[in-house]
């Protein structure tokens, strides 16, 4: 029990630090969003009218007062769930912007991650069990080779081949002429649009899991308890599953929990290449458009998600590995 309380304590502490950093970092960056906004409205070469900028500031609700006042106001707003209004999508609240993009990313990245994890771990375990076999060579060499390719490059290649030349799949967007909602035509349409981005993620996703699982499992296979299990006459399938894979899975589970936290960051490159309406694309736009409230909210989102994922990983580890409970209890 102490182990779990301890983990939760650490979690709260880190979360506070993250929230504070999230407040500070954008304010340390150069550039004034109000000026940007005026420029955007008035055209690049127009004279900047100080009055217009002041008006713009007031409208955006740009920060006022000392840093400390701002910090207090920021925390208060956070607690009430008010994260501000997006500059780019003015006057939509950032929470709405995020809420709209969230499902897209969640489904695309989440599902491909889970599939990648499952496929990668199984392939890795099999490769380790049949070490130095043809299967192992194909899996290991194949993974290493594909792993050297860049995601955006594969994405462009797929886009070019299947989107433009063959025309089998749409080249951008999340859906076409259907009405978003829980209806069959829309779901079909959305799936159809996600085939190419998902293909890229599924091609690259399992690699880390394959290599990680294979290496840990090979190390585990050399342990005495594996030799003992064989000497006990435990059937191979059980030695592989209950002894070797069970132990080798531990680091992978932590990795998975952390990767789940990373989902909310979206897939910046992939989503932008396919113009996919997820969080990654929004984040890219927010960064280039100096959309502070949106950027801040997105950062906060990803950080919180990562921390929660870390917490889950820690707690899970405590359940899966009895040694962890004792060591840091």
């Amino acid at each position: 029990m102490r182990y779990f309380l301890r983990r939760v304590g650490y979690f709260l502490l880190t979360l506070w630090a993250a929230v504070t950093l999230n407040f500070l970092i954008p304010r340390l960056q150069p550039g004034d969003p109000a000026e940007m906004m005026v420029k955007k409205l008035a055209g690049k070469d127009a004279e900047l009218d100080p009055a217009k900028i002041a008006a713009m500031r007031a409208m955006l609700g740009a920060p006022e007062g000392t840093m400390f006042d701002q910090y207090v106001a920021y925390l208060r707003q956070l607690l009430s769930g008010n994260l501000g209004v997006s500059y780019n999508y003015f006057p939509t609240p950032v929470t709405d912007v995020i809420a709209k993009a969230l499902p897209w990313t969640l489904i695309l990245v989440g599902v491909t991650l889970l599939i990648s994890f499952a496929v990668g771990t199984v392939l890795g375990a099999l490769a380790a069990w049949r070490r130095n076999s043809l299967f192992d060579s194909i899996v290991t060499i194949g993974s290493t080779f594909i792993g050297t390719l860049q995601a955006f490059w594969i994405a462009l290649l797929l886009l070019f081949a299947f989107g433009y030349i063959l025309g089998w799949f749409p080249t951008s967007g999340g859906y076409d002429a259907t009405t978003p909602g829980f209806n069959l035509p829309f779901i079909g349409d959305a799936l159809y649009h996600s085939v190419l981005p998902a293909a890229v993620l599924l091609l690259l996703g399992p690699i880390g899991w394959v290599l990680g699982m294979r290496n840990t499992m090979i190390m585990n296979l050399g342990e005495d308890y594996i030799r003992l299990a064989k000497a006990k006459g435990v059937p191979d399938s059980q030695v592989a599953l209950r002894y070797a894979a069970r132990n080798a899975l531990l680091p992978s589970i932590t990795g998975l929990a952390m990767a789940l936290g990373g989902i909310l960051g979206g897939q910046l490159l992939i989503e932008n290449i396919f113009d996919y309406p997820g969080l990654g694309r929004i984040m890219g736009q927010a960064a280039t458009g100096k959309d502070y409230p949106l950027l801040q909210a997105l950062l906060l989102f990803t950080i919180t998600a990562t921390l929660i994922a870390n917490l889950i990983a820690d707690l899970l580890y405590g359940v899966l590995d009895p040694r962890a409970r004792k060591a840091s209890a």
Binding site: R6, N132, E223, D224, Y225, R227, L228, A229, K230, A231, K232, G233, V234, P235, D236, Q238, R242, Y243, R246, N247, L250, L320, D321, P322, R323, K326
Partner: protein, 642 residues
């Protein structure tokens, strides 16, 4: 002998690694074990004993392969049986306890589960019946039932090993293979586990093959002994007869590394040189390069392990190949055979029971002289408390409680204790790595007294010139990628500001002092090219380079093979004789303490429980703990006439 339970016939196990030359780690090995028999197998590192163990269990892994021969278990040829066909016999008939087994239990499941699969796979017991059986087994090894639901990491080392033993007996096997079952455990724990094994073996009647490099325990436990060298069995002998009349010179060498520590003058022998590289071509007897009794024939013809003819001469050597069952000793040595069967052969050395190689002698007279030498290090009422922070709480743990002693020039003081007794902490405080919590350590260097616990960083660097360490494991304390020249030049440059020709000369001088001669042959070599004993010599030379006044030797021989341990002891001994350097010899082994040290300090739980001249402590221990330590030392010679 009755029909054998396990019969190994001409077994050869070959390793064919991709990057190295292939070698036969086990070659043409034959022996048999009868039901209920307790057989010991002695071999040093690289002798092939673990390879043999794996082959018997049919757990040989690539690149290893059973290349020739047969393994019969209960009349059944298991040499080439498929793993599936073999599975029903595993753990029902043959079980095993692995080397010190820290890792033999699956760390993520309860102890109960690991018994459960072993029992359910091979019996009809299910559910609570299995738990009842586990309770019975825990009773056998005297472990509380509450540990049935524990995880392996919640057990101490000794308990783990008992649990492993209980696990091995789960299905009343006919044969248990013990592969270094107590290596790495404290002597007292080791003793109690081995007594347990022997008692259970008598009660339950299973046969045992007990494999170890620890000659003392093997001799103590076994009815019959197999001695392995370079992948071959060189001698097979009843334990009592082996002690009385060892046949193979290597066996004599091994036995010679043991002696009665109670004697006024202790003599132990060592086998110079190193085991052969089996991946190279060889001719003749593999032990010949290290053998003091070799004759010409040994260099050309490889001796076979043949039975010694009975004293009435009824059987000649030639007919003896089938002699596994005759109960007569076997030996693979031309000299041993000729001495018994054709004593008139010209050039044959006279029969001997001792190893004729180099010898290390320690007598009481030396001690008498040493204890009056000048004191140069005083440890005065030292306490050491470690604090560990856990969240907001601080836990303190007193590891050294009021320890006082002094060290003298030109004298060896042994600090004896089990792991956790605090002996390494004391060493760390003397070297200045740790500081005492209270009390002081004063070093009287030739330049005046130094309070070791108060030295600043710069002073400490200078202090280290006076105090040097020799570590336990010469494999990890030498950088394998540097030449000996480089390794030895570092302390010479740092502590003695030497360079150029003077440096080179001093390096040669150091190599000569540790008997790595001629120095020209060793200067340019790398650490990894040397044997364990040679490496430890380099480590000692490195310690000497700074011209220290004190050398702290922390278990310097415990990771070395038994047959060469005395070699390092002798070297340390000679250093003390030739210069006035003092040695603090840290060990868990009272026996080696007696051989090297003039004075013995016994440490238990951070306190000094006994202190005195080495021989007095050994002969007449006053403290209960010292007595237990002494009793735990295997003494195969106990009932032998002196």
């Amino acid at each position: 002998m009755a029909a054998p339970l396990l019969e190994v016939k001409n077994l050869t196990v070959r390793y064919s690694p991709k990057l190295h030359a292939p070698l036969n780690a086990v070659e043409d090995v034959s022996f048999a074990i009868a039901p209920g028999e307790f057989v010991g197998l002695i071999g040093e590192s690289g002798s092939g004993k673990s390879t043999l163990a794996n082959a018997i269990l049919r757990l040989t892994e690539r690149p290893g392969k059973i290349a020739a021969g047969q393994i019969l278990f209960d009349g059944l040829d298991i040499t080439t049986m498929s793993q599936d066909a073999l599975r029903p016999y595993r753990w029902r008939d043959i079980s095993t306890v692995f080397q010190s087994s820290m890792n033999a239990l699956n760390p993520v499941t309860h102890v109960e589960d690991q018994f459960r699969d072993a029992i359910e796979l091979h019996s009809k017991l299910r559910g609570d019946q299995v738990v009842d059986r586990i309770k019975e087994l825990f009773d056998l090894v005297m472990i509380d039932h509450r540990f049935i639901t524990a995880y392996p990491h919640e057990l101490s080392g000794g308990m783990k090993q008992r649990v492993n033993l209980a696990l091995a007996l789960a299905n009343d096997p006919k044969f248990v293979l013990l592969d270094e079952p107590t290596t790495g455990l404290d002597v007292v724990v080791q003793r109690s586990i081995l007594e347990n094994v022997r008692r259970l073996q008598r009660e339950q009647g299973f046969a045992v093959l007990f494999i170890s490099h620890d000659i003392g325990t093997v001799l103590d436990m076994s009815d019959r002994i197999l001695i392995m060298y370079a992948g071959r069995i060189v001698e097979e002998h009843d334990t009592r007869d082996l002690l009385r009349d060892p046949l193979h010179p290597y066996s004599k060498g091994l036995l010679g590394s043991y002696a009665d520590p109670r004697a006024e003058t202790v003599r132990i022998t060592y086998v110079p040189g190193r085991p052969p590289d089996l991946s190279r071509e060889h001719q003749g007897c593999l032990f010949a390069p290290r053998c003091p009794e070799k004759i010409e024939r040994c260099l050309t013809v490889e001796p076979q392990p043949l039975a010694i003819a009975a004293s009435d001469g009824a059987t000649g050597a030639g007919q003896a190949t089938e002699a596994i069952d005759t109960g007569r000793p076997r030996v693979a040595c031309h000299v041993a055979h000729l001495q018994r069967e054709a004593p008139d052969t010209p050039g044959l050395p006279a029969p001997t029971k001792r190893f004729l190689g180099p010898e290390f002698v320690k007598s009481v007279d030396e001690t008498a002289a040493a204890v009056t030498n000048e004191v140069f290090l005083e440890v005065k009422d030292v306490y050491k408390t470690f604090r560990t922070r856990r969240g907001f709480r601080v836990e303190s743990n007193e590891v050294i409680t009021g320890v006082s002693f002094e060290l003298r020039r030109g004298m060896v003081t042994a600090l004896v204790g089990q792991s956790g007794s605090g002996k390494s902490t004391i060493a760390r405080m003397i070297t200045g790595v740790d500081r005492p919590t209270s009390g002081e350590i004063v070093f009287h260097s030739k330049g005046g007294p130094l309070n070791v616990g108060r030295l600043g960083v710069g002073q400490l660097t200078r202090y280290r010139k006076f105090v040097q360490m020799v570590f336990q494991d010469p494999y990890s304390s030498l950088n394998p990628n540097k030449t000996l020249h480089y390794i030895l030049s570092r302390p010479l440059k740092n502590h003695r500001r030497m360079s150029g020709e003077a440096l080179r000369k001093e390096i040669d001088n150091l190599l000569e002092r540790v008997a790595l001669t001629p120095p020209g042959r060793y200067r340019g070599r790398y650490g990894y090219e040397l044997s364990g004993g040679q490496r430890q010599r380099v480590v000692i030379a490195r310690a000497l380079a700074a011209e220290p006044e004190l050398i702290i030797a922390d278990e310097p021989i415990s990771s070395l093979d038994v047959s060469i341990r005395a070699e390092i002891l002798e070297l340390l001994h000679r250093l003390v004789q030739d210069s006035d350097v003092g040695i603090l010899y840290i060990t868990h082994d009272l026996l080696s303490a007696r051989m090297l040290a003039d004075e013995v300090i016994v440490l238990n739980d951070g306190r000094i429980v006994e202190r005195g001249e080495a021989l007095d402590v050994i002969r007449d221990p006053e403290d209960e703990y010292t007595r237990r330590l002494l009793e735990a030392i295997p003494n195969p010679f106990a009932d032998m006439p002196a």
